[in-house]
């Protein structure tokens, strides 16, 4: 097992290195930030001074090597706009995004798995068909539009929930700032979390349904019934554990997606997370922040992949065996 983890870690480091190059090169070609950063009426000497100060007069490979050197000591550059370390800017806003992504994931799991399993066990029933139609809507309706409609309905027309922003009632749990311990916090997070969850919820429903339909016809399910087990044990233990394997795999990877693509939801609901920071940084061509953001996302994905591999080996004993051989 430990050999397996070390091997995965080394692969992960290689992925991060390659990604850092792609990200840096990608942002390099996007545009010239000096046009936005330097005042229009500055003279040539002033312009050259700013460019040299930001290190933009260096050739590409020197800039990249400097970035790598800084990154190794935990310095991902300073924001052009705020003159603060880019990493600090992101880490300040990361808890808000993680909180949002976590609640969205919880919604997707706690509603998706039961609904999908139910639909898979009784595929012909009208309720199952309604669930599946709903999941198609969840897949195909654009997130920003659903978000706006939710604000219109629940905040403007019904006035039940606040339309935008995050609650100020922050509690620190193990050093992690969260608003989930206050009613106001939940009132603020509910709409954006549901909005962010819709796509994943549909995905979980479809996965669980496909899993349930496949598993329920297996001989071992019939054999479990032939043993005289109660229906609830057959479904909750024998069927569920087999369904969970693909669901855990996909969800682990999708959690990275939730964090990375919360951009749209955060923009619609003015949620003060890293997605909103990214959009602002792109419009100012604030290179260090964009690069730092993308590197953080890469790290999250790589880390989640590792976690999924380990969780998978716990759920499915056959994977564990292969790992031991490798």
């Amino acid at each position: 097992m430990s050999v397996f983890i070390i091997r995965r870690l080394m692969q992960a480091m290689l992925v991060v290195l390659v990604m850092s190059f792609l990200v840096f090169a990608g942002v390099y070609v996007v545009g010239d930030p000096t046009q936005i950063l330097v005042a229009d009426d500055a003279d040539q000497a002033e312009r050259a001074r700013v460019i040299a100060e930001l290190g933009l007069d260096q050739p590409f490979h020197m800039q990249y090597l400097q970035f790598l050197g800084g990154a190794l000591s935990g310095n991902l550059g300073e924001s052009f706009r705020f003159n603060e370390p880019a990493l600090q800017l992101i880490l300040e806003r990361l808890p808000a995004t993680l909180e949002l992504a976590f609640v969205a994931l919880a919604i997707a799991v706690f509603f998706g798995i039961p609904l999908g399993t139910w639909a898979g066990l009784r595929p012909e029933s009208p309720v199952a068909k309604t669930i599946m139609t709903g999941s198609i809507l969840g897949f195909s309706l654009p997130t920003f539009w659903v978000g706006i409609m939710m604000i219109l309905l629940f905040a403007v027309i019904l006035g039940w929930l606040p339309s935008t922003g995050r609650s100020d009632e922050i509690t620190y749990v193990l050093g992690f700032p969260t608003t989930l311990f206050s009613l106001d916090g939940w009132a603020h997070i509910l709409l954006p979390a549901v909005n962010l969850a819709l796509f994943k919820l549909s995905l979980v429903i479809r996965l669980s349904r496909a899993g349930a339909r496949e598993v329920v016809h297996q001989d071992y399910i019939k054999f479990a019934r032939a043993k005289g087990l109660s229906e609830s044990r057959v479904i909750l233990v024998h069927v569920m554990k087999n369904i969970l394997i693909p669901v855990v795999t996909v969800l682990g990877l999708e959690f990275g997606g939730l964090v990375a693509f919360s951009v749209v939801t955060e923009t619609v609901f003015a949620w003060p997370g890293i997605g909103k920071l990214l959009i602002e940084s792109i419009s100012f061509l604030d290179r260090p922040v964009i690069v730092a953001y993308l590197m953080i996302i890469v790290l999250i994905f790589v880390f989640l992949n590792l976690v999924v591999d380990i969780a998978y080996s716990i759920l499915d004993p056959r994977v564990r065996l292969q790992d031991m051989k490798s």
Partner: protein, 333 residues
């Protein structure tokens, strides 16, 4: 063979039909037989003759769109064809157990063997986990699995096919059922393992007085194991009798064909007798004898459905032209 003991299971005129979009499939159509304690009934037939569906009907495990539409399944006198789901759940695994055909598919791949055994005990008896675990360990030992204590903690994929089938048999015998339905349990195994398992099942049934229904397409297996044989064709029992009667003096042309197609050392070098044609589709079966299109003796009479006749006491044949006792089997050398 007439026995005085009360049958453990008596199936009377069982009909199990599948209501598919293409039409009604009469998978089991008027099947009757009985098994007595400690006896083995061999249910023989080709693929698709309704053997397995008969087995599932007994356990109440026929999946939709199929259901039992007629007849009685009397278990110790109680008609379980009409029993409630809860009653059937209590019977399954405790009094009526089943062993499946493919041991690679019978055990849940993500649950440890001890989980799957302990739950089978605790579904019927309120015993502690520890006690159920010890019973499971002893049961594994009885079916010849070495170091059962260690093997209990393993997952199914760590067992070979033969070992898995032993585990399945051990699970079926856990609660000492009075009836076991074994659906071709040795088909997927190689012959040496097959022999061991046959021996063990026979021994266990004799010791505990368990009645056994052994479903198979392999006549040589039932020849050594069963007391009585039911030959099934197209969802019906076409011939029934003791194993010696049926194998030595087959009365139905289909049974004769089956026996003729078994390879034998005495007929080395000669081509095997074949039954011409294929098993008919059970969907919209033509009226009359279902075997008429493949039967060497078929004539105009066979356009009518044959009734069951009794050439001797305890023998049933569903044929207009049964071969009379003593007639030589044309395939014997």
């Amino acid at each position: 063979m007439v026995s005085d003991t009360e049958p453990t299971l008596e199936v009377r005129n069982l009909r199990t039909h599948f209501f598919t979009k293409a039409g009604v499939v009469k998978a089991v159509d008027d099947v009757s037989f009985a098994v007595r304690p400690g006896k083995v009934m061999g249910l023989v037939g080709e693929s698709g003759s309704g053997k397995t569906v008969t087995g599932f009907s007994i356990l109440g495990l026929v999946d939709a769109p199929g259901r039992v539409v007629g007849g009685e399944i009397r278990y110790k006198g109680e008609n379980i064809a009409t029993a409630t789901d809860d009653r059937m759940r209590r019977l399954r695994g405790r009094e009526i157990a089943m062993i499946f055909q493919d041991p690679m598919m019978t055990l849940n791949p993500v649950l440890r063997v001890d989980t799957q055994m302990v739950e089978a005990i605790r579904a019927h008896h309120s015993v502690s986990h520890k006690e159920a675990w010890q019973q499971s360990r002893d049961a594994l030992g009885r079916v010849g699995i070495p170091s059962p204590e260690e093997r209990l903690r393993a997952y199914p994929h760590q067992f070979s096919g033969g070992m898995r089938q032993r585990v399945a048999i051990a699970i079926a015998m856990l609660n000492r059922p009075d009836l076991i339905v074994a659906d071709e349990p040795t088909t997927a195994l190689d012959v040496t393992i097959q022999g061991q398992i046959l021996y063990e099942v026979q021994k266990l049934c004799e010791e505990t007085g368990t009645a056994l229904i052994w479903i198979t397409h392999d006549l040589s297996v039932v020849a050594g194991l069963a007391d009585e044989i039911c030959v099934m064709y197209a969802g019906r029992v076409v011939e029934h009798g003791t194993v010696d009667e049926v194998l030595d003096q087959p009365a139905h042309p289909y049974t004769r064909g089956l026996i003729g197609s078994v390879p034998s050392r005495n007929r080395r070098g000669q081509p095997l007798t074949q039954i011409p044609g294929m098993t008919p589709s059970l969907l919209n079966l033509e009226p009359g004898c279902p075997f008429k299109t493949r039967c060497p003796d078929a004539d105009a009479v066979c356009e009518a459905e044959p009734a069951i006749t009794h050439p001797a006491a305890g023998r049933d044949v569903r044929c207009h032209h049964p071969v009379t006792a003593g007639a030589p089997l044309e395939v014997t050398a």
